[in-house]
Amino acid sequence: MIDERRIVITGIGLTAPNGNNLAEFRENLLAGKAGVGKIETHYMGEVLAGVCHFDPLKYQKKKELRRGTRAGSIAIYCAQEAIADSGLNFTQLDKSRIGVYLGITEHGNVETENEIYALKQYNYDVKYWSHHHNPRTVANNPAGEITLNMGITGPHYTLGAACAAGNIGLIHGLQMLLLDEVDLALAGGVSESIHTFGVFASFKNEGALASHPDPHKACRPFDRDRNGIVVSEGGCVCVLERLSDALKRSARIYGEIVGYAINSDALDFILPNAQRQAECMNLALKKAGLSAGDIDIISTHATGTQQGDLQECQAIRGVFNNASHTYANNTKSFIGHTMGAAGALELAGNLPSFNDHMVHSTINIDNLDPQCAIQNLVINKPIKVDKIDHIMNNSFGMLGINSVVIVKRFGA
């Protein structure tokens, strides 16, 4: 394929509950260091959550913080870090040819809930409702805040895709580059969901909110005693560009996106479906021109719910039944579910494998559920392998949306 039609990742900016840049994040994933704690939330008291600890004032003024949203702040931090990481001379770039594409699970719940909460003290008199509510809650807010902060005049919007959104941000960025709509894409996903009680309450009432006396052990995909999701905030923005442009400027290339797929279960609001997930993985493999055996790491989506994990394991068994050298891991076991950020963040944490040949583990497995005993699941400790050439990143979401991204080691 000609270099203009090949899309590579050349910069990564992220914040996760256990790291505020890729090096720190990766180090903690290899060290088995989780990042889940306890926070107070309206009406529910203490809940388990993954909280990010980046410095928002690194790239924003206090006034910007006051005007904007947490999702916007996460997005700005990640985008600025991604550009800095890419080595691009940002001031010299044509800002009208940069696109910002962010996946989100939801947006606006935080501001709406907080406004209503604050309005209670005024006896629900709406003259005290903030005039900032609309610009804070429009669905493009996190992406738009990036453009305001960085002076980007190309297109910006978010892609609502439940918990598959992070992958879909990346896929959309790639597509816009291939369509020649932009020359550079800032693509990925963000989530501020821990600041809304509704997400916690809804998961709790579904019987899908994790609990454990030790917060770091609460998220335990594939464990027999897993009992739900740990909600987390986070973000990851990747710089995507055409290989021809990356080579021209001798950029460091994290990897090439060679395959992707998005499909829908068309079956249920909440419950995932193994068959459709398997179809999605196979579609991505086909697009990449690969067979299952070519994949070295599957970065699983599993969130730690009883049913969800089973479905993905069944799907993986179906697709990878003859792939003896394919390893599987899980990032949520460390940081919980970063919702709209999860796809991009979980992929990013695995990309250093191309160079260090380490496969980070899935932690918190005390008793592996026999039904989740997929082949080569890397349990509790990372392993070293001879080579990593291809990573498959799964991200699935409510309403039955599935997304898969395959990244290839550049030069493999």
Binding site: K61, K63, R66, R67, K127, H131, P135
Partner: protein, 83 residues
Amino acid sequence: MTKDQIRAVVLDVIAQIVPDEDLTNLKGDVRIRDQVEMDSMDFLDIIMELRKRYGIEVPEDDYIQLATLDGAVAYLAPRMAHL
């Protein structure tokens, strides 16, 4: 409230709205928006804060009277005298 107290209140509200700005040398007779980075949405925060803190209602037609610090103090003095 005295005029000095009202001036301090208005300055405190402005400081909250434009936290990055140094208000030490803010001139009383020059438009506030010409001296600090403040747009119309920020200005509405002044109106909202006066409403929330002191129950003061400023009709839209009177917004112009709050354009300068001196103007704001003069406008608010009779309305906040009882506080």
